[in-house]
Structure formats: structure tokens, C-alpha cells
């Protein structure tokens, strides 16, 4: 087979050439620099940087809080998607549009706004204070910020899948005497499971790399509330480029694994059921 199938449309050379050139200069070459800088380190230095106590503390927070945030969004994302697709209520369209707000809102803005709301004297922080719950400047705050910025991924992944659930099957099952929970477990859940997992993974992947909104609410204490991206920035500010590159490489590998997982999940979702016209 030749490189490309014949077509009467012109412009393949120009557009393909420009695309690969631009992609290489802006994205691929700079990323290659990171991979080279990270791998050209002495093995001992690399291990020392990547497995230092401070780095491990930051992974624990970054991954722990991201997993927690993605799990929270798995539950609430489903509830919100269900509410928006199945129920009609005043303001539904407005809420539906607002779901994308964390996409569009700069992370610095969500960071300072969340910190203000959940600080000890903030609207919600004040209510939680008597309960002994501190959100701002703790790992809870980090989780909260990550939950906010990854929320749209979870909702938007599940929404189309919920619309595709065949209502006839639900009706048939109920006519035959199945309860709502049984219908949910046997008909709805299998249809939306790939979408739920895709949303979870997308939310997790986004949360792990997040920087802007977290640094305001986390307090940035080493070993306690310091996320990995912040540790990279600290290395860079000390002109320790190699240390930064080593940590960056670890995160890059994780991003690739997540990307692979997302693609596999989406392929599974497509295979699992024939999509009705979308």
C-alpha cells in the first residue's frame, strides 16, 4: 500500500507538510528536549531526584488527591449528568451551560476564588470550621480544587452515553416486573460503564498535571501540601534544570499511560454497543 490513498482533492502536500512542520517545531522537538535532558542524567542522580522523600511526598499528594477528585467526580458527575439528561426543571439549560465553566475559567481565577470561599472566614469555610474541617491550606483544599477543574470531563463523558440508553429496554424490563435498581444495574450501568470510566480517567489525567488552581489553596508546605508540578517549578527556580527534567519525565510517562488508557477505554466503549446516530 502506498503512503496515501488517491484522491482528486488538491492540497495534501501543502497541508500535510505544514501540519507536520508546525507540530514538530512547537510540540515534538521541545518534548524531545525534555526526554533527552531527563535521560542524559546519571542514573544515580536521576534515582536520587525522582525518589527523594520530598518527591515521593509530592507524588502521594498529587496522585492521591487526583484519584480522590476523580472518584468524587465519578459519583457527582454521574448524578449531574443524570439530572441534566433525565429531568426537566427551571434553570436546567443554564446549569448545563455552566458545567463547562471550569474549562473556560483561567485556573488562577478558580484558585483564588476557591481559596476565598473555603478559607476559615469564607462563606463555606466558616460553616465547616466548627465541625473541625479545614479545607484551605490542607490536602482537602487540593482535592477540592482538582475536583472543580476536572468536573466537566466527568459530566461531559457520561451525558451522551446516558442519552443513548435505550428507553425501550428500560420500559420492557419494568413491564416484566424489574425494579428501578435492577433496571439500573442490568441495563443502564452496562451501557454507560465505558463512558463512566473514560470520564474518570480524563478527570484524573487533567487533575494530576494541574498547577494554577492548586497553588493558591494548598499552602505549599513541603511533604504535606506540595504537588509534583510545584516541585518541578521549585527545581526550575533554583536553576536545577536536570532535576526538573527528571520529575517532568516521570509525569510525562504517566500522562502517556493515561492517554493510552483513555484511548483503550473509548475503543472499548465503541465496541461494546453499536452507537445510535449521534
Amino acid at each position: 500500500m502506498s503512503f496515501r490513498a488517491p484522491s482528486i482533492l488538491p492540497g495534501f502536500g501543502l497541508t500535510f507538510g505544514f501540519t507536520t512542520f508546525f507540530l514538530s517545531t512547537i510540540v515534538l522537538l521541545p518534548l524531545a528536549a525534555l526526554v533527552l535532558a531527563g535521560t542524559s542524567m546519571h542514573w544515580a542522580d536521576f534515582v536520587h531526584t525522582v525518589f527523594s522523600a520530598r518527591a515521593i511526598g509530592s507524588y502521594r499528594l498529587s496522585f492521591g488527591a487526583s484519584l480522590l477528585a476523580a472518584s468524587i467526580n465519578l459519583v457527582f458527575g454521574f448524578v449531574i449528568a443524570w439530572t441534566l439528561t433525565r429531568y426537566e426543571f427551571p434553570g436546567r439549560k443554564l446549569i448545563d451551560a455552566l458545567i463547562d465553566m471550569p474549562f473556560a475559567l483561567p485556573t488562577a481565577v478558580s484558585g483564588i476564588a476557591l481559596t476565598t470561599v473555603f478559607a476559615q472566614n469564607g462563606w463555606i469555610g466558616r460553616l465547616l470550621e466548627p465541625l473541625g474541617i479545614k479545607v484551605a491550606y490542607t490536602w482537602l483544599g487540593v482535592t477540592l480544587a482538582l475536583t472543580l477543574i476536572s468536573m466537566p470531563f466527568a459530566v461531559r463523558a457520561v451525558q451522551p452515553a446516558l442519552l443513548e440508553v435505550q428507553r425501550d429496554l428500560e420500559d420492557a424490563a419494568e413491564t416484566l416486573g424489574a425494579g428501578r435498581l435492577y433496571v439500573f444495574r442490568r441495563i443502564i450501568l452496562p451501557t454507560i460503564l465505558p463512558a463512566l470510566l473514560t470520564g474518570f480517567t480524563l478527570a484524573f489525567a487533567r487533575a494530576v498535571g494541574e498547577y494554577g488552581s492548586v497553588i493558591f489553596i494548598s499552602g505549599n508546605l513541603p511533604m504535606k501540601t506540595e504537588i509534583t508540578p510545584l516541585l518541578i517549578v521549585i527545581h526550575l527556580e533554583q536553576f536545577d534544570y536536570q532535576g526538573a527534567a527528571a520529575l517532568g519525565l516521570v509525569m510525562l510517562v504517566i500522562s502517556f499511560v493515561m492517554l493510552l488508557a483513555i484511548n483503550l477505554l473509548q475503543a472499548w466503549g465503541r465496541r461494546n454497543h453499536v452507537r445510535t446516530a449521534s
Binding site: 492540497g11 515534538l28 481565577v109 462563606w123 442519552l163 498535571g209
Partner: protein
Amino acid sequence: MAAAGTDSYAQEAHRPGQRTWMHAIVRALFIAISLTFLGAVLLAPLATVFIMAFAKGVAAYLHVFSDPDTLAAIRLTLITAAVVVPLNTVFGLAASWAIAKFEFRGKSVLITLIDLPLAISPVISGMIFVLLFGLHGWFGLWLQAHDISIIFALPGIMLATMFVTFPYVARELIPLMQQLGNDEEEAAITLGAGGWMTFFRVTLPKVRWGLVYGMVLCNARAMGEFGAVSVVSGHIRGLTNTMPLHIEILYNEYNFVGAFAVASLLTLLAAFTLVVKTLVERTGYRRR
């Protein structure tokens, strides 16, 4: 989403078993949980931005925008977006033409590579340019010898922003063009139209709403990018501070009115982005 959704609402009232008290309780519960969650996590912070910005009155709010450093930050953000968005738009059009109009080997790899910046932490997106062009980076000494500054200067900010917003236009256009097919373009070419004419008179009008949406998203991200720009900018007040970075500085100086006033502009930009998205979807164009 809206079109397919409306049908199910219309049927809702006539569905068997939907009028029971059990169903009503579940419905109320789901709506209550959704609204509480969104209220606490999303609406309260949004309201805070404006309440804090106007905490000391309208005069104090407006006074923020007479500060030369704030104006410089706004100007820098606008300049960056004015360069980055058109470049990424041209790229998006070229990439979608190559990918949607032709069949070639390695296409899915190319699509994955274009989406790559979305999967990468903003901090890493900035760092790669520091590794290349920073003082201790690969080209650092050469650049210094030739008196060219990229890091801690405008070119670095633009490069980092370009990297972060790279996929936005392309990933709107590629699925849209694939869905619309090649029939009309092939007809135009067969009838004697040139390549550019076909593009401007046939393809561009077909995909215009997807293009608008992609550009608006790209612009929102370009103006709001924090992490990547923070790494390359050097935070020089009045010189290399974009709006999001300026928010951080003002906030850390406890100038809350200033920080939230600048934040309110970016919040309005985000709201504008969502309005455009809603309008575009109303034309029948649906995100996939």
C-alpha cells in the same frame, strides 16, 4: 445534546411508572444533590470573584485599571492572544484538511500527537522551553551571545501559550470535516474550481461554526493560561506579566480588590466563551 434531549423530556410525562411518589423523591434528591454540589464548588467561587472585586465599591474597582502595571498585563495578554490564536487557527485548518480529506498511513498517530499538549501538565509545557532556551538550557549560551532573549521575555510567553493551545482549533475541525464528508469538495474540483476556491467557497462556509467555536476556546485558554506562562515569564512587573500572573502577584500582596478585579475580566471572558458555545450549538453544530 439539546436536540436529542428534548424528545426524552416530551415522553417523560407519559412514561409508565414516572408519576409514583418514589420517582418524585428520587428526582428531587438528584436535582438537590446536583445543585448543592455545583453551588458549593462552582457558583460560590464565581460569585466571590465579583463580590470581592466590588468589595470596596465601584470607584476602587475602576481604580485598579488605572494602574500602569495592570494595563501592561492586559496589553501583554491581548498581544499574546493576537499572535497565538491566528497561528493555531491556520494550523488547525491545515491539519483538518490533511486529516479529514485524505486517507494516509499513520493518521491516528498524527491525531494523537496533535492532542498531546492536552495531556501534559502546564508546568511541563513551560519547562520544555526553559530547557531549550533558558540560560542553562541547550541554546542558552548561544542566545545570550547573540543578545536574544526568549525565556523571561515575550517570545517565550508566546511559545508556551502556543504549545498549550495548540490542539484547540484542530480538534474541533477534524471530526466536523470528517463528518461532513468530501462530496461537495470533489464536485467543486470536478467542475473546475481551484483548490483555494474550493476551500474558501465550499469548505470554510460548511465548517464556520466549528471554526468559531475552536477559536473562541483557543482564545480563552490563551488568555487564561497560568502554569506554562508562569514558568517562562520571569514575573517582571509591567514587562512579562500576563493577566493571570498579575492576579497572582496582586493576591500575594493582599491586594484582593486588585486581584479579583483583574480576575473579574477573565471571568467575563469565560462567560463570553460559554455564550458563544451555546449560540454555536443552537445553530445545530454539536460537539462530539
